[in-house]
């Protein structure tokens, strides 16, 4: 056990999202995790008792960081959302919300509740077509959620590669000229992202990181293991060590991952990069190594 405890915990309470954004890996999933082979949304949820027991487990591990109830789903489609956030607070944690905002647009009462309950609200802004519209949307949410600690999803036009830019490259999203950044893969590039968050999907699958939509690393399932058993497992810590040391080549999903380096390479190594080649099945519905 030589990795620190996760700083954030995500327990995805349900599987659905009301959107199908071109820059989201969920849109291209046909594994049955989020979308079935016909492209239809999978509608499932984690039992409330299980979510509460996971919060208890996390508390037992000494966790007091931020908790969200999403992965590649819209958390406010779950009517239990506010209750779950309150349960996190009762256990000394800080709930945070990452939402596309659609439900909040329709409900003043829910806006009041999320303002009161959530320590941080991140609103995804996906519909603007210019920087002026982006600023208008931001102002709208600053007014609608006044008093909340509010952030916006990291997409932008001002520095974008095209005037239509509105998304960063993702491992399981086909290359698209609308991406705001060069679409690259990296060799010898450290990645610390899996150290930050513990991600549990609605069916109990533990994912490595935000690029892992299907549990491709076989880390475990919280219906069979505890959070601590998975987090400190030999397999998980081994992958962490590899990625912090820049060994993306060992894992299929990481080989094709366009997420940027999180630090300099190990001594004696150089980070190099090349345009990303998209392998739609690599790391999705298959083992990631």
């Amino acid at each position: 056990m030589d990795i620190p405890l996760f700083e954030r915990l995500q327990i995805e309470s349900q599987s659905n999202c009301n959107r199908a954004c071109w820059f989201c890996p969920r849109t291209y999933d046909r594994s049955g995790k989020y979308l079935d082979p016909a492209g239809k949304s999978v509608l499932r949820q984690m039992p409330t008792e299980k979510i509460l027991s996971l919060l208890d487990e996390a508390q037992g591990l000494g966790f007091s960081g931020m908790v969200g109830f999403h992965h590649y789903s819209e958390p406010l489609l779950d009517p239990r959302n506010i209750t779950l956030a309150r349960e996190a607070i009762r256990r000394g944690m800080a709930p945070y919300l990452h939402t596309n905002g659609d439900v909040l647009r329709r409900s003043d009462a829910l806006c009041d509740e999320v303002r009161q309950v959530y320590a941080l609200i991140v609103v995804g802004l996906y519909d603007y077509r210019s920087n002026d519209e982006l600023r208008e949307e931001q102002e709208f949410w600053r007014g609608r959620l006044a008093g909340a600690r509010l952030e916006f999803s990291p997409i932008g036009l001002a520095d974008g590669r095209t005037t239509e830019s509105i998304g960063v490259p993702r491992a399981l999203v086909p290359p698209d000229r609308r991406m705001t950044l060069p679409d690259l893969t990296f060799r010898n590039a450290p990645c610390h992202r899996p150290l930050i968050r513990m991600l549990v999907q609605y069916d109990g699958t533990v994912c490595l990181c935000c690029e892992d939509t299907t549990g491709a690393f076989d880390l475990g399932n919280v219906h069979r293991q505890t959070l601590g058993e998975v987090w400190y497992s030999e397999r998980h810590t081994g992958i962490i060590h590899d990625l912090v040391a820049g060994r993306r080549d060992r894992y299929g999903l990481c080989r094709s991952c366009p997420m940027s380096p999180t630090g300099p390479p190990p001594k004696g190594e150089r980070v190099s990069f090349a345009p990303r080649t998209f392998h739609p099945l690599e790391g999705q519905g298959e083992r990631a190594w």
């Binding site: 030589d2 990795i3 620190p4 700083e7 954030r8 990452h98 991140v122 952030e151 999803s153 990291p154 997409i155 932008g156 520095d159 974008g160 590669r161 960063v168 705001t180 950044l181 060069p182 690259l184 990296f186 590039a189 450290p190 610390h192 992202r193 150290l195 930050i196 968050r197 935000c210 962490i240 060590h241 912090v244 040391a245 820049g246 997420m259 940027s260 380096p261 999180t262 630090g263 300099p264 390479p265 190990p266 001594k267 150089r270 980070v271 190099s272 990069f273 090349a274 345009p275």
Partner: protein
């Protein structure tokens, strides 16, 4: 202070770069910011990386594009100041190269002043989701650094 005589060293421990289809992409490995230098900027970057002074580069690019080296030199000083400000170059640390700068073939392309384009979206992503400030890795973890990232 950057002048036409300044030579530069790349901050090679902290950056990675590559030229793809006439566009040089530079990534700051520490903060996740991407940069693009297309066209003349890409050519200038490669020459800066080889240890040439801005005056030498201006002369070569002036010949290549058929314009005054003084014009190019002023543009290069502005570019270099940006590159230094973004922590991509160290001024006065380049060792310089012996011998004549190889002649660059004249081109019909129109000279455009080099412009550094910064893409900070990934830096925002690093900062927001997940939040990295404050993370310190424990000694013994096989990481490149024990310093905070982000």
């Amino acid at each position: 202070m950057v002048t036409a005589e300044t030579r530069f060293g790349l901050r090679s421990e902290e950056i990675a770069y590559k030229t793809l289809d006439g566009e040089t992409i530079i990534i700051n490995l520490v903060n996740g910011v991407y940069y693009s230098l297309p066209g003349v900027g890409s050519e200038a970057w490669e020459l800066i990386a080889s240890g040439r002074s801005l005056a030498e580069i201006a002369a070569a690019l002036g010949t290549r594009y058929g314009i005054s080296p003084q014009v190019v030199s002023a543009d290069l000083v502005r570019l270099a100041e940006q590159l230094v400000a973004e922590n991509l170059l160290d001024s006065d640390s380049g060792s310089g190269l012996a011998g004549e700068l190889p002649l660059l073939a004249p081109t019909d392309r129109v000279y455009q002043a080099p412009a550094l384009q910064a893409y900070r979206d990934m830096a925002d992503l690093l900062a927001l989701d997940p939040p990295t400030p404050g993370i310190v890795f424990r000694p013994g973890l096989a990481g490149p650094t024990d310093a905070p990232i982000g």
